[in-house]
């Protein structure tokens, strides 16, 4: 219902105990450590710079992550889709200590995996290079000598390519002047021909010139033996490389059992990095160090006595000074705590501000339920979240709260679905008429928003008025708590009176009651009182809204402008019409899906099959779209219409020195 009161903690201890003390604090995770900035000229106390060590930890963490990725590639870890909900694995201190001793070996294995992977990649590159060579030899395959052969003592041999496709006749024609010539075609492709030409030494030069003039080029491949032989040789090389890759792969796969220790290594280094970051924040003399931080009041005594029993240490717990802004830890009951993240993503309560989570929770589930407003979907959501909560016991706290929030929202949706008579749209009616020829239907508990949207609109806005008034009351309470009763009256109570009396005045007019279909306008003494209250409170707003200004003229002008703020109340209240619109959207689209399902087929069995298929796909889609809408717009109503009235935020979340590990959670005892 609030935030936990914080204490300032100061620890002074010997440097020899530094590691143990910090590890103790890290495991407990209840102390936030402030940076103590020291004067550079301070002789006794110094800050140490550990950037280099931290960079080293980061390197190890990255390498371990890399090794895990490599391992995952070669030996896939069996994981269910929802396993990530399980959170970090718990582990005892003893297990952790045992690991710490052998962490060097684990790191060696990490390096080994990375080296193996590097060799595999190198081999792969070599293979593709070799394959390119084989490919290049392909046109020369029919040649039974080396493609680089230049001739004998009495002959010149020209092996190479000519552009375009040519025949043997073309060649002889080309070289007719240089007889005797032996020419043959090795291979022909569309854009080039591989040729073999032999002439006598004497004719060689001339023949070469002619060939050159026709675009002759020596082969780009080089081989000592015939191309076919060369290819076989290269293929054996590839096989050898592949065999090597296989050995490397097997070797990597053998490390699959070490996966857990790699994860632990990554966590271990993350914790060390965190610890070193904290050491930088301490102020240290030659033999002692001083730590300054915040701790929640409820944990303060425990941490003090634990530390004092274990170490030679001085722990000082004191109240934070009034100028300080200690960090925020939420403390709410089971009903409101799931919504802490909603408040948090708006802002943490600022100095002297109340935590608005509980007051918000009174409306959050209700608004969500009205917008989602389908008993079927509510039931689905409730059942799904309940199963998840029951199945994944070790879920992280934040995730658990998120799921619990949807569980409560689901229950609320179920309730409002029954109230407004919506079950997967109008499933009962459609099934009854299509398959059983009856006019059975489940009647809404109150009324159906489909049949009477105007009534629903009025209900939505009425709820909106209550919500906004609750916000204004919160403003009043907040002001009172900080000793500004007068401000609370001017900015909270006056507006409640003004808006409330304006609504009463509207309700006394026939015009308004006609629109909303609310029956006879109220009459008698009430409207007269309302007019009086409205005038008085409007006057009050004009006189007080500009109270910061000293100049009376300016004050009045500001006051008048403040009264103009009544228009924002109008738009705020109208904004709650989204309750109707989104509620209708869920129900009507659900009905569309049902009637589409009922349209297909002639006989009952075909109809039933198609109905079930369309029902499943359609409602899953509708569920997904509308749960998103309900979530977004519930947040909007809370943030804009509700928080806008009283909540500024601006606080800072408590960020304790703790083990921010990824895979394992170390249990205390």
């Amino acid at each position: 219902m609030a935030v936990l009161p914080m204490k300032r903690i100061n620890i002074c201890a010997l440097k020899t105990n530094r590691k143990a003390i910090l590890e103790e604090l890290q495991r407990k995770g209840v102390v936030e450590i402030n940076e103590v900035k020291l004067d550079e000229n301070d002789e006794t106390f110094k800050n140490v710079d550990l950037t280099e060590q931290e960079a080293n930890f980061t390197k190890i963490i990255n390498q371990t992550t890399n090794a895990l990725e490599i391992l995952e590639k070669y030996s896939h870890e069996q994981k269910g889709l929802l396993d990530s909900l399980n959170g970090r694995k718990p582990m005892t201190i003893e297990e952790y200590k045992a690991f710490e001793a052998g962490s060097d070996n684990v790191y060696k294995k990490v390096l080994k995996i990375i080296a193996l992977q590097k060799s595999i990649l190198e081999n792969r590159a070599e293979i593709s290079k070799t394959e390119a060579l084989i490919e290049a030899l392909e046109p020369w395959k029919n040649l039974d000598i080396s493609p680089n052969f230049q001739g004998t003592k009495y002959t010149d041999v020209f092996i190479g390519t000519l552009p375009g496709s040519r025949t043997e006749e073309d060649l002889y024609e080309l070289l007719a002047n240089y007889a005797p010539v032996d020419a043959s075609i090795i291979s022909v492709m569309q854009d080039q021909t591989c040729v073999y030409v032999m002439t006598t030494k004497a004719q060689g030069e001339g023949a070469y010139e002619t060939l050159r003039a026709n675009g002759f080029a020596r082969p780009s491949v080089s081989a000592k033996t015939s191309p076919a032989e060369q290819q076989t040789k290269l293929e054996t090389q590839i096989e050898a490389l592949n065999a090597e890759i296989e050995t490397f792969t097997k070797e990597i796969e053998e490390y699959a059992d070490d996966r857990e220790s790699f994860k632990l290594l990554s966590d271990y280094e993350i914790m060390r990095k965190e610890k070193y970051a904290v050491i930088e924040k301490l102020c240290q003399s030659k033999h002692a160090f001083i730590l300054d931080g915040y701790v929640a009041e409820c944990n303060a005594q425990e941490i003090k006595s634990t530390l004092e029993s274990k170490f030679d240490i001085e722990v000082l717990i004191e109240d934070p000074s009034p100028e300080e802004e200690p960090p925020i830890i939420f403390k709410n009951n089971w009903f409101a705590s799931p919504l802490e993240s909603v408040t948090e993503s708006y802002s943490q309560p600022g100095k002297g501000e109340l935590d608005p989570t509980f007051s918000m929770s009174l409306f959050y589930y209700v608004l969500f339920g009205i917008m989602f407003s389908d008993a079927g979907y509510g039931l689905m959501l409730t059942v799904a979240t309940t199963i998840v909560l029951a199945k994944f016991k070790t879920m992280e706290e934040g995730m658990k709260k998120f799921v619990r929030m949807f569980q409560f929202c689901g229950i609320s949706t179920l309730f409002w679905g029954i109230v407004f008579g919506s079950y997967f749209g109008d499933i009962f009616k459609v099934v009854a008429t299509t398959f059983f020829n009856s006019d059975f239907n489940v009647e809404p508990l109150w009324f159906s928003a489909n049949d009477d949207p105007m009534k629903m609109l009025v209900f939505s806005m009425a709820l909106g008025v209550v919500h906004i008034f609750a916000g204004l009351i919160m403003k009043f309470i907040n002001c009172v708590k900080n000793g500004h009763i007068y401000d609370g009256f001017c900015d909270g109570i006056l507006w409640i009176l003004l808006v409330g009396s304006c609504i009463l005045i509207l309700m006394s007019t026939e015009f308004f009651m006609g629109i909303i279909g609310g029956g006879d306008p109220i009459s008698g003494v009430l409207p007269k009182i309302a007019i009086g209250v409205a005038l008085a409170s409007a006057l009050g707003v004009i006189l007080t809204a500009g109270r910061e200004s000293k100049n009376p003229g300016k004050r009045l002008l500001k006051g008048a402008y403040g009264l103009y703020g009544i228009t924002s109340y109008l738009s705020d209240i109208l904004s709650y019409s989204r309750l109707l619109a989104l509620g209708l959207a869920t129900g009507v689209i659900g009905s569309v899906i049902n009637s589409m399902g009922a349209m297909v087929g002639n006989n009952l069995i075909v109809k039933a099959i198609f109905f079930i298929i369309i029902f499943c796909i359609g409602h899953v889609l509708n569920f997904a779209i509308n749960i998103l809408g309900a979530y977004v717009h519930t947040n909007r109503l809370q943030y804009v219409e509700f928080f806008g009235k009283f909540y500024d935020g601006g606080g800072r979340m408590f960020a304790p020195f703790s083990a921010k590990t990824q895979y394992y959670k170390i249990k205390e005892k």
Partner: protein, 157 residues
């Protein structure tokens, strides 16, 4: 002339789904492009940017909603078409206009806001809660248009 009544009513109903649908299709498309771009930088943001992409999609659904309410009101869906006077038909057309026009324009603007929010989430993933709010602000006007269309259609017959 009077047989044209039904035609105009259908025109209105279909128009709401059509125009608002086009707006949402464009909007979700814009969001999708930005989301895909964001994923190239940080794939772990998938769920968040997907939600932001989907936000301009609701106008199309509201259009569908209006179309369905109108079509079932005039019996095109269900028990067979009722006969409408020209005046009633045109009234249906008019009643569908807010959803069609506001739906179209707000979807486009919501999409632009969504794209900006995706950029925000990419830089500051922890600001997701707030980033969701900006597009939702634009949607308010689509909801108001939806409301007026629903109320108007309900009042005609």
């Amino acid at each position: 002339m009077s047989e044209l009544g039904l035609f105009f009513a259908v025109l209105g109903a279909v128009g709401a789904a059509l125009v608002a649908g086009i707006g949402s299709a464009k909007g979700v498309g814009m969001g999708g492009q930005a989301a895909a771009g964001a994923l190239t930088e940080n794939p772990s943001l998938f769920a968040k940017v997907l939600i932001l992409q989907l936000l301009p999609g609701t106008q199309g659904i509201y259009g569908l909603l209006i179309a369905f309410i109108a079509l079932s009101k005039i019996g095109i869906i269900g028990n067979g078409a009722v006969s409408l006077t020209l005046n009633q038909g045109l009234s249906f057309l008019a009643a569908c206009l807010p959803m069609a026009i506001v739906g179209y324009i707000s979807a486009l603007h919501q999409a632009k806001t969504s794209v900006a929010s995706i950029a925000l989430v990419l830089k500051k993933p922890e600001q997701f809660g707030k980033s969701m709010l900006f597009p939702a602000m634009v949607e308010t006007y689509a909801i108001l248009a939806l409301l007026i269309s629903i109320l108007a259609i309900n009042g005609i017959l």
